[in-house]
């Protein structure tokens, strides 16, 4: 009696132990992978969903409820995530007035929100996307050569920008982040020409980004840079301010007490 009951109980215990063992094995091998896949998919779709909310609130008045554009703004179907990174990441969007060109201003969205908006726009028709990883670790010398060939004609050899026709202008590059510079080359915002990966490879774009950061942030020796336009304004200031001061000092030395 006692032995049969023991046998019955031990049978249940073995089945339970075996179940627990298989369950533990399954959890150990299969669960982490499936969880990662699950959450990754959810994260992506969550970003698109959150981006859609942000878009409907902040952008749809001009760009339309389905990105189709309207009287106030162009269609965004197929412009790609990199266009969003440039326009929103440099503060140009949301637009504050219908001027000839959108000026850089304070950024209204956080980086996370910009990524959500970008994911949403990317999900509608695709388009150029920023590569993952560092964007400013290119080769400096190649970047300088490419910058002078492709960028300096409008943005100035020191990245100070310059005038275009009818009130438009190439903006100065001093405040632009690596993401903004890279996405500008990819997306060709407003009147800037577009530079596809066939024209400038990702490595060449990274080289240009590094060079722009080098000339605008790295090599600043301090003092008044006078717009970094070079020897012409510096000479002008020397002539007007410096010589005036010298004449004044000469008059003071020559004056009788």
């Amino acid at each position: 009696m006692t032995s049969t009951r023991f046998q019955r109980l031990s049978g249940y215990a073995v089945v339970l132990l075996a179940l627990a063992f298989v369950g533990a094995l399954y959890t150990a091998f299969a669960a982490p992978k499936s969880r990662a896949e699950d959450s990754g998919g959810t994260e992506q779709s969550m970003a698109v969903k959150a981006g859609r909310e942000l878009f409907l609130q902040g952008c749809s008045t001009c760009h339309g409820l389905n990105l189709q554009g309207g009287a106030g703004g162009p269609s965004l179907i197929g412009v790609g995530a990199s266009s969003v990174v440039f326009q929103v990441g440099s503060g140009r969007m949301p637009l504050y007035a219908g001027t000839v060109q959108a000026p850089r201003k304070k950024v209204k969205y956080t980086d996370a929100e910009i990524d959500q908006l970008a994911a949403y726009v990317q999900s509608k028709g695709g388009g150029p996307e920023l590569p993952s990883g560092k964007l400013d670790d290119g080769e400096l010398q190649m970047g300088g050569d490419l910058f002078r060939t492709n960028c300096a004609s409008c943005h100035n050899f020191a990245g100070s920008g310059g005038a275009l026709t009818y009130g438009k202008y190439a903006p100065e590059l001093t405040e632009a982040s690596a993401r903004v510079i890279y996405s500008a080359m990819q997306s060709g915002p407003e009147n800037m020409p577009r530079f596809s990966d066939n024209q400038l490879t990702p490595d060449e774009k990274k080289a240009i980004v590094r060079y722009v950061q080098f000339i605008t942030k790295g090599s600043q020796p301090g003092g008044a840079d006078l717009g970094r336009y070079g020897p012409v304004p510096e000479g002008l200031v020397i002539w007007l301010v410096g010589l005036t001061a010298l004449v004044g000092i000469t008059l003071w030395i020559g004056a009788r007490q």
Binding site: D145, T149, N150, S153, C154, G162, A163, L164, T165, Y166, K168, A170, G188, E190, N191, M192, P193, R194, F195, S196, N198, Q199, G218, S219, Q220, P221, G222, G223, W252, I253, R256, Q257
Partner: protein
């Protein structure tokens, strides 16, 4: 204690018999009024004085009356001025020490935060060092040094008549020694040699004349039929490399093509529906790709400022604006002609090639190429 060591104030307070030793300007002022200016030019006067440096005793212009300064009269003011000068000199020392301190204690390093202040601080301390010395010296001279005006005569500018005659004689003798007048052969060949030297610059002027015109130097570039359009790094451009709204600067694929000054060309791609080719040039562009010379027809600046929405090509030098979608015709500015267009095609491997050289001279007008408005 001699007079030289005394201050002006002490000398002014000295007894009257000391006044002869004072070499100030006042003592000679009375001489000047007696001997007028007109006497100083007379040759007799100069001859009498000879050519030594004894002119200091000569009649001179009236010196301004000596005005006593605060520091000349007041011992306290003099000490105060002395202290100010010394303070300025010490300020200069501070500047020098500060300069060295900034340079070594806080050196410029790439990418560090003190960089914004490195150059301005160096400049500030250097200015302090130089200004301290300079301002101190000026203050010293203005307040403490004797500033009585002294008149110093110059000697006569004309040479002595005897010297003039002697020099003339020496020149004539020299000419006789060379025998330039007597030796007809040498004189003649010398003149011939010197005259033919004038022909040396003529070859340099040839480029301005009919020679250049005949060689068509200004009318041709590096482009030929079948020459590929390559980037600066030598890679050829393939149909499809450019997206709509792109610009690529291209050079002819010939040796040294990237440094030929007349050959840089821009290849632009726009929507084919936006491109309006000029009459007779319908087959010069392919699928919205069109190529123009980079060199402005006004004064030759590079016109590479392309606006992909308006298709304006903008010259940064004098604001000439060309419409890339309408044969690069001038829409604004001083340029007189459209940018020359390069006829392009695609070879069997899919790369862009030139159909021919430019059909008109690139760049600004020259004598044989008149400016014609909006040709």
């Amino acid at each position: 204690m001699t007079d030289d060591n005394k201050s002006i104030r002490e000398r002014l307070q000295a007894p009257a018999d000391d006044e002869d030793a004072n070499t100030g300007g006042d003592s000679r002022g009375s001489d000047v009024t007696e001997n007028g200016f007109q006497n100083t030019d007379s040759r007799a006067d100069l001859a009498a004085r000879g050519r030594d440096d004894s002119q200091t005793a000569a009649p001179s212009a009236p010196a301004a009356p000596y005005e006593l300064r605060h520091a000349d009269l007041d011992a306290a003011a003099e000490r105060s001025a002395e202290r100010k000068v010394a303070f300025l000199f010490l300020l200069s020392v501070v500047g020098t020490v500060g300069f060295i301190w900034v340079f070594f204690a806080s050196p410029y390093k790439y990418g560090e935060s003190n960089n914004d202040w490195f150059t301005p601080l160096l400049a500030f301390f250097m200015a302090l060092a130089l200004t301290g010395i300079g301002a101190g010296a000026v203050k010293w001279a203005k307040s403490l040094m004797g500033d009585a005006e002294v008149v110093q005569e110059r000697h006569d500018f004309a040479s002595d008549p005897a010297d003039l005659a002697e020099t003339g004689q020496a020149l004539v003798e020299g000419l006789q020694v060379t025998g330039l007048g007597r030796r007809k052969l040498l004189t003649g060949t010398l003149l011939l040699g010197a005259g033919s030297l004038l022909l040396l610059p003529l070859p340099l002027l040839l480029d301005l004349g009919p020679y250049a015109h005949k060689e068509r130097l200004l009318r041709r570039t590096g482009w030929r039929k079948g020459v590929r359009l390559v980037r600066r790094n030598g890679s050829p451009v393939r149909l499809g490399d450019l997206e709509i709204g792109s610009l690529e600067t291209v050079y002819p694929d010939v040796p040294g093509g990237d440094v030929l000054a007349d050959s840089p060309t821009m290849l632009i791609r726009m929507l084919p529906s936006q491109l309006v080719p000029r009459h007779g040039r319908e087959d010069w562009s392919i699928d919205g790709h069109i190529a123009y010379s980079v060199i402005c027809t006004h004064l030759g600046c590079p016109v590479k400022l392309y606006e992909q929405q308006t298709h304006h090509l903008f010259c940064p030098c004098h604001q000439s604006t060309f419409d890339a979608s309408h044969g690069a015709k001038v829409v604004f500015g001083p340029a007189a002609r459209s940018l020359p267009q390069l006829p392009i095609a695609v070879d069997e491997e899919g790369y862009f090639v030139a159909q021919s050289d430019y059909t008109e001279p690139v760049g600004p007008s020259f004598w044989e190429r008149k400016s014609r408005r909006f040709s």
